[in-house]
Amino acid sequence: MVRFENVGLRYGLGPEVLRDLTFELESGAFHFLVGPSGAGKSSLLQLLYLARRPTRGLITLFDRAVLKVPRRELPALRQRIGVVFQDFRLFDHLSAFDNVALPLRLKGAKETEIRKHVSELLTWVELGDHLDALPPTLSGGQKQRVAIARAVIARPRLLLADEPTGNVDDRIAMRLLHLFVELHKMGTTVVIATHNLELVSRFRYPELRLENGEIKQVRASAQRDARPGIEAAAGRG
């Protein structure tokens, strides 16, 4: 699904922020990406959602060498990736409904289907009463749910989330994480970057730890959340 070979990234003439990353994520895997602030988690995710090119090395995504994909084929590749940005990045003048519908519209889905699926998903994240609300009128947690709904609506093959629980309390954080677990159960590969080690420790998913621009693959040790669904899901990762 995802393979990095000796990948390096630097900004301008600065030092390498990511050094010699070599790792592989299997299809259907679920990983937490952890590491101190400034370690390069967001930078790594940006490489994954094709917002940046590595300064060296080889990235393979969906069995394609990213640098060799012709530009006109990039949109199709990107449509298979769902991204939750730390700062949501919703379109402020589009309703919650239209924000969530956007990935489907980009894929050219039928308007009747869009209406059904988007309403369903927004109801599922308990925003059924806020379909027409504009993002600036929503609370932080509500915006976060819109952002997550937008990332998952088109059933991406790869879901990337950068601090998706950064601004919400633990209770909501757990609920949102379970959304990703549900998606993961349907076969999506999930990578979640987070500072919240306490939260990570409640799930039995492997961690990717970034330190000094290098990566270490670590298995989660704690298993405080031992619910069967999560156990089963973790077994595949």
């Binding site: 959602y49 094709l50 917002a51 090119r53 006109r72 990039l74 949109p75 199709a76 590749l77 990107r78 449509q79 298979r80 990736i81 991204v83 990045r89 379109f91 402020d92 003048h93 589009l94 239209d98 519908a101 956007l102 990935p103 519209r105 980009l106 894929k107 308007e111």
Partner: protein, 293 residues
């Protein structure tokens, strides 16, 4: 394009709000230029139809003025005997004085001023006369006559009309070029203003065509709206010009009016402005995005 949900708020930023007004000014100038050129063209063509098939015979005043020396009768009888001539009428002296008055003033018009006498000759449709032969016969019967078929004057008028048309089209082309330049820069400015939204759309897998459509929809609306404002202002100006008397018949000038087709040309300006704006926006966006890494 009709069902396109607009993602980028292109109507809300300043770089785009002034566009309709620029388009309005451009369309106003284009409309006025075209109206002027088209009025000149129809004026010239009316002169042409009015003057072909017509001759003017001029009878120089004799040195010793005599109101009736018989030459006029001789000229008229020769002309009326000619098979090509439909009618030959002496131009009324009062009417002649009316033509001249604007140049000489009423005071200059004394009856002792020797004036040439004119005969207005109409030919049968498609009939032609040998001007040299006719002039010779008239001169023999009545010395001091000359025949004018208006050819030189008409050629001059038509040439002038062609030059005016050429200048008008050139002016409209320049206006269009200026409008397109402004649209290109405005589109680039808008691309810069919305670069975050565009980057986000790209990350979500939007194709450049989708992003271009955002700009096209906005450009079409703004171009058309601006065109409409410009055209309505131009029409108001034309109506005001008509009201100011420039359209009224002053002496020999035919009336300045436009044909239905010419009105349609003016009416096509707002859609044309919209189309030009749309195409310019599309090409600009696609070329800028193609160069983006």
């Amino acid at each position: 394009m009709a069902g396109h949900i607009r993602v980028l708020p292109l109507d809300r930023d300043d770089s785009r709000r002034y566009l309709p007004w620029i388009v309005a000014v451009m369309v106003y100038l284009a409309a006025m230029t075209l109206a002027g050129a088209m009025a000149t063209a129809s004026m010239a063509s009316r002169w042409q139809t009015g003057l072909t098939g017509a001759l003017t015979v001029q009878l120089q005043p004799a040195a010793e003025t005599q109101a009736n020396d018989g030459r006029m009768e001789a000229v008229l009888s020769i002309l009326r005997a000619d098979a090509a001539v439909a009618s030959a009428e002496p131009v009324d002296e009062e009417k002649m004085l009316g033509f001249i008055q604007p140049w000489l003033g009423r005071d200059g018009l004394t009856l002792d001023l020797p004036l040439p006498r004119l005969v207005d000759v109409r030919l049968h449709d498609r009939a032609s006369v040998d001007l040299v032969d006719l002039a010779a016969r008239l001169e023999a019967a009545a010395p001091g006559t000359s025949v004018d078929d208006h050819a030189r004057w008409l050629t001059g008028i038509l040439k002038l009309a062609r030059v005016i048309r050429f200048i008008a089209f050139g002016t409209v082309a320049l206006i269009a070029a200026a409008a397109i330049t402004v649209l290109v820069f405005a589109t680039r400015a808008a691309l810069a203003v919305h670069k975050d939204g565009i980057a986000l759309l790209h990350i979500m897998g939007a194709r450049n065509r989708f992003i271009a459509r955002e700009f096209q929809v906005a450009a079409l609306a703004q171009g058309f709206r601006g065109g409409l404002i410009g055209l309505l202002t131009a029409l108001a100006t034309l109506v005001a010009l008509g009201g100011a008397g420039l359209n009224t018949d002053i002496g020999i000038l035919p009336q300045v009016t436009l044909t239905t087709l010419q009105w349609l040309v003016l009416a096509a300006l707002p859609p044309a402005a919209g189309a030009v704006a749309l195409i310019t926006a599309r090409l600009t966006v696609l070329s800028v995005l193609a160069r983006l890494a």
